[in-house]
Symmetry: C2
Subunit: 508 residues, 2 copies
């Protein structure tokens, strides 16, 4: 395969025009057909499993096992969104029957549901070449929502992106989707151009803080601003109580290193900090587990170089001591290979070098913070962490969880997911998953990029007032031909007050 060159301005304009043109027919497409499109993508990916994984290994350096698992997740995720699309609950259909005796006067017939926002640009991530890339979660949820998707390919795996794009295009064409339902564009500047284009109506991004903030600002400064769902960076603190460490230092240490070093530490939910009381057993096991870890290739040279520099900064910080130094090596192809680096420090040093230390290190590096017996973990968490994807607590086996209630509440304020007794790497794709969190973890605290709730980021509400049945969209019709759930506020029920609100003279 040839390396894809940057999309030309003319091609870009064609892609944007097609996406816009595809919007109305994609929005009007019946839910079953939408679901079939997603299932068809899943089938195509499954058929090309070997080719996809081989290409991904070449471009990312990730292991075959990891990539096969990720591809399976991606396929399952597409099927999940097919189910969500077909069920139609995401449309949030609300029907208020006309009511001449409404509590504040006559109420018209009102029917509200959620419609696709329009063309979406999806800036893909380097570290999940399947699950957060061309066929990843944002593509699946946007298509399920009925939005055309323009994918900005990550330069870390361009050939895989092109291949995946071709498979999706074929799958959607075979399912009767309009031309323009999916496109892949290449080139950094092109991503920004697409984001700024009036035809694009929402954006999703997973990547670095700097790039994310730049794109978020561009989205807000457009003539017509659009929603921007950016996932920027997270240090995912883990807190172990003294009892947890006393009882279980070895297992904790081993699991910690596995969570830090898996996928060469290139995961958004990698634990960047472990708060634990000093324990020689913990340090020894960490060292042993980390030293046994084979070197892993970083995703691409630029990312490896950035990690190497960040690692040096942390190692050079006064008050930071080495548990295991780890290594960074550059090979003849400029690829960077790393083994885990684990350092230790104190809350006082963290306080003194806050700016330098409390920031994502995207690679197999983590910081153990040795707190003192009388330190209050909830206060430390509040002091050091502003917004994270996750926060984790380890307790002793019989320790009363009420003792960490304050820390749990603090983590629920500053993160999107609070984990007890597990590790943050490991994100289930389910209805109750939340993958998001307060800034700077994301730029939009009310959204998730993983799980079935992700579909809502690409929808907007519209209400029809007193519209005849013939011109109502299917989900709002009394006949309900798509058999979607409809929440109905009946005529007359406001007389008993009920919870059905109030019509309004006068009005805005």
């Amino acid at each position: 395969m040839n390396h894809p060159s940057d999309t030309s301005p003319a091609e870009l304009d064609t892609i944007l025009g097609r996406a816009r043109a595809a919007s109305p027919s994609l929005a009007a497409m019946c839910l079953k057909q939408r679901a079939n499109g997603l299932l068809n993508i899943a089938a195509r990916l499954e058929e090309s499993r070997n080719e996809l994984v081989e290409q991904a290994i070449l471009e990312t350096g990730l292991s075959s096992q990891r990539l096969r698992g990720e591809l399976t997740r991606t396929i399952v995720q597409l099927k999940l969104f097919a189910d969500i699309a077909r069920a139609g609950e995401f449309l949030d259909v609300r029907i208020d029957q006309a009511d001449p005796e409404f509590v504040l006067g006559s109420r018209p017939d009102l029917r509200r549901y959620l419609v696709p926002v329009g063309p979406v640009v999806n800036f893909t991530a380097s570290n999940f070449p399947f699950a957060f890339s061309v066929a990843g979660g944002d593509t699946a949820s946007a298509l399920a929502a009925g939005c055309p998707v323009i994918v900005k390919a990550h330069p870390g795996h361009p050939l895989l992106s092109a291949l995946t794009g071709r498979l999706i295009t074929t799958a959607l064409t075979d399912s009767g989707f309009p031309d323009g339902a999916i496109a892949v564009v290449f080139g950094q500047e092109n991503g920004l151009s697409v984001l700024k284009d009036d035809r694009v109506r929402a954006a999703a991004f997973t990547g670095s803080f700097r790039a994310g903030r730049t794109l978020a600002t561009a989205a807000a400064q457009r003539r017509s601003p659009i929603p921007f769902y950016g996932e920027l960076g997270s240090v995912n603190p883990v807190f172990a109580t003294p009892t947890a460490v006393e009882e279980n230092a070895q297992a904790l240490a081993a699991q910690y290193v596995a969570s830090v070093a898996g996928s060469a530490g290139q995961l958004c939910t990698k634990p960047g900090f472990l708060f634990a009381p000093s324990s020689s057993e913990l340090a020894t096991t960490i060292r042993k587990a980390a030293e046994e870890h084979p070197q892993q290739r970083m995703l691409y040279p630029g990312l490896g170089a950035a990690y190497a520099s960040r690692r040096t900064d942390i190692l050079d910080t006064p008050g930071v001591s080495v548990i295991v130094e780890g290594s960074v090596r550059v090979d003849a192809d400029d690829q960077v290979w790393a083994t885990p680096t684990i350092v230790a420090t104190s809350p006082a040093t963290l306080r003194e070098y806050r700016e330098r230390l409390i920031d994502e290190a995207f690679g197999p590096l983590s910081v153990v913070v040795n707190y003192a017996e009388n330190d209050n973990l909830a206060e430390l968490s509040a002091e050091f962490f502003e917004g994270n994807l996750t926060g984790t607590i380890h307790l002793g086996e019989n320790e009363d969880p009420i003792r960490v209630r304050e820390l749990v509440d603090e983590l629920a304020t500053s993160t999107g997911r609070v984990i007890i007794g597990g590790w943050p790497t490991g994100v289930a794709v389910t209805p109750a998953m939340q993958h998001g969190g307060p800034y700077p973890a994301t730029t939009n605290v009310s959204s998730t990029s993983v799980g079935s709730a992700a579909i809502s980021r690409f929808l907007r509400p519209v209400t029809y007032q007193d519209a005849p049945q013939q011109i109502l969209p299917e989900p709002l019709q009394d006949a309900n031909p798509w058999a979607v759930p409809q929440t109905i506020a009946s005529r007359g029920e406001s007389l008993s007050w009920g919870s059905r609100g109030a019509a309004v003279p006068p009005t805005e």
Copy 2:
């Protein structure tokens, strides 16, 4: 009562500190108590009805009847949000039971619900001194969501704002709410300071395009950006088919003038444009109805002056002819009094003077656009209108609605509410209401400021993974002490695939 002076910097800091301090206890407060607080506010407003309406008349010039109706709506709205708070459906509780046989591997116990975002600043509107002001919709939904509210009072009705603030404070204190659950601040610069303060986590605004865009930019440029729900401006086009005008010119004209001139045209949903074929009967009735309309005081001198200037611009535009000129008069107190101004023009003129004509004129002015027999209304709508709160269509009595299907679809794309056969002024407060729309109508297309769905703008999701029951928030506990709706994904059901998603090795 003395005119409230601008809140001092020290007071402002105290207010922000109290709001932040109130956040955790307000978030943890049981839903019944939250509901009682809202009901208590409603009761206090009802008790002080006469005093409130008298003050509102003095400060806004709106009629007693209009203000009494608006106060009733505001009270009912508070009761509606009390019901919503108590029912707990808004929490969107999702529980995935732990499942060792999950489709992609072992799934942990995951429990997700929506929590309050934290302190909210509510920039109030001049034109609804009750329903969009201190005790208005955004305050009601934010308190129902569990967020402390800092209200930026509108300078058009400062004494009423202070009075309302005192009533709410008393009501909430009596209901056991924490100090800091509500505060009212005065002064334009103070509003911006509050918006920029790290302790504030969301903002709602109803007002002018310029002010709204400035505040939206400030919200996006914060060190830690926050959601900004701005309602900026809308021209609410109305389209009448030739048959509608033929059959019903007199009634249409009279209703149109009533909708344009009610509350001196100072309504966000005022119809700014009526697309109709030329009809002398329509013009004559419009003239007659408008000339019969008594002069009305505009809300405050600055707004009146801006209207006068905008009106002159429109009247002076070449190609614009007068149906009824109306009047603008300034009294000895600098208050502006107006009677309705209705002008006529053509699509060609609208095209030529697009920038000048297609913009909100906040007052009793509207433009009749006389289209030609072979004009396509859907195309005209798409050409001239980008984002509006509402779009309206009038059909003949026996006209086949399918004939306007294309226009309906176009309006569903560019507005938040499509009305058939009615008028946009008149907003029911119900589950299916949508008061919002694509930019520039609002800065956030996925939200509504009216109706029960408004509560979602002040919420964010958080997930608990494998947390023991004792430290789970009440809505997520198996015992469900608050008796809220819980959507449960059962263990084992993924074996039949189902729609329950997929757990993930490996993961981000």
